[in-house]
Symmetry: C2
């Protein structure tokens, strides 16, 4: 009840958000290890699986990541043989990231992951729906 209450960890909204994000990403790790990819590589592949091919700029916009993060990450995915990186013919400033056959095949192995995560998270479905709505509202506001 003193003037410092607003600086207590317990009264922060950002802190549990930060912790939950980290801890859930960590929960993914054993499942992603089986595919030899990291969480950030996983969401990158999700975007590509959905859209087929995207420029680095488009990827950055969808994933909320900048080129300083994406460039080395995409080179890693290229080295693993999951994507190719080629300049667009019409505008060589655009670098197009496309899935290889191997990258596409990885999608089949990834199919099992959401169910496995759901099993070890045990969140109430109504809470999950609320959380989804609130987070998307927040994302739109930022």
């Amino acid at each position: 009840m003193d003037k410092y209450d607003c600086l207590k960890l317990d009264n922060q909204l950002c802190f549990p958000l930060y912790v939950c994000s980290k801890e859930i990403v960590r929960k993914y790790k054993p499942f992603l290890d089986e595919l030899d990819i990291t969480y950030t590589q996983y969401i990158t592949l999700m975007a590509l699986w959905d859209k087929g091919a995207l420029s680095v700029k488009e990827l950055g916009k969808q994933l909320y990541l900048d080129s300083g993060t994406l460039t080395p990450l995409l080179k890693t995915l290229e080295a693993k043989g999951y994507v190719t990186r080629t300049r667009a013919k019409d505008d060589e400033r655009n670098l197009i990231v496309s899935l290889t056959d191997e990258g596409l095949a990885l999608r089949e192995k990834a199919l099992a992951i959401p169910a496995k995560m759901g099993a070890c998270l045990k969140i109430d479905p109504a809470d999950a729906a609320d959380l989804y709505r609130i987070l998307h509202t927040l994302m739109a506001a930022i």
Copy 2:
């Protein structure tokens, strides 16, 4: 409506969690820059402001961080003059992190931050309450 729907970014709960966490931490940056600290250093100081002094182990438990993250971070805070690191007399395995006068004084400057963040986040109070409850439920389940 195909079998790959569960791998779409839009159907993930973890992804918006991950994005919101990152983006909100970024929102803090200009305010924390004024105090010459990072977000992780900020929550570390929050724990210390509240408790006075803590061992590295206790800090790690409260912040959900391990020694690989905390050790360099605490050395940075020590170099800035905000904390001291001294071994406990009774058990020299324990490293006690304490606030210096400067570290304590920083609390006054930090007092303005929560209000500034609240102003630029514009989240519905009812949503904030729901979010707080759901995230804490999640944290407890992990």
